[in-house]
Symmetry: C2
């Protein structure tokens, strides 16, 4: 199936893999379409943006959950800093984490069909951090196929 191939490609792309899930940073994700921005309060103080691959965006547009195999979501995060040029605005500072969710209902059957990866400077965070992903998503957004972010209109 085309979708499954895309999912494998994303999960198995060249580059370091997350512990537990074996998820890599997908190729070319920085130019994917925007799902939505967000802000995270202290202590993180971050601006964030979730991007999705074509399969993800089509699923959002159709309003169809669960997301199909092959869905990949990437959340970029930056420190939240004051704009030096426009007083009311705060803007991205240094990049902090890049977090990936890959849907593969067979490979990740034990975690709701999702594999997770959290990267800092391109390197995966440790296993302890990855052990927190599924429990939190399951506890808070089980009604939206474990995905927090909605498509911003």
């Amino acid at each position: 199936m085309g979708c499954a191939l895309v999912a494998s490609g994303a999960a198995l792309a060249a580059g370091p893999l997350s512990p537990i899930y074996g998820v890599a940073l997908p190729d070319g994700y920085r130019k994917w379409a925007l799902v939505a921005p967000a802000q995270e309060a202290a202590p993180l103080n971050e601006l964030r943006a979730v991007l999705g691959n074509d399969i993800a965006i089509k699923a959002y547009e159709a309003g169809s959950q669960p997301f199909p195999d092959g869905t990949v979501l990437v959340k970029l995060a930056w420190k939240h800093v004051q704009s030096p040029e426009f007083e009311p605005a705060s803007i991205p500072g240094a990049a902090t984490t890049v977090q990936v969710m890959v849907k593969d209902s067979k490979r990740y059957a034990a975690t709701g069909g999702w594999g997770f990866g959290r990267f800092i400077n391109g390197q995966p965070a440790d296993a302890a951090q990855h052990q927190t992903c599924y429990a939190c998503h399951q506890a808070k957004v089980q009604n939206h196929d474990l995905v927090f972010t909605r498509f911003a209109p």
Copy 2:
């Protein structure tokens, strides 16, 4: 020139045109690549995201200003609301404005090469609002070809 054709296409796309500049909402902009998110403080209390067409993104990647003719930037804005699912996060609420900048150095020679459009529910704002665009951009970001938003790493 291909770039000029793209610029004309964006500026003259079907749909209502902004006063003064005659800028339309470009086709398909919602799936353009992300330049950067931002937050705007009270009284607006908005989350924002600037998207760019391919010409814009290439110019950002090359770090080359002035932006070439054909560059189109679109800023989406939403009310900034508390996430009902994750306490530290705030997320997009209702959409507010969509703002467009189109580079066409001949057509918009009198305003630094940029045409501006501000839309609310798909309809252009009035001329008085459009008279404020250029003066503010010129006063604050003349050193960055009148563009506030930098590419978020």
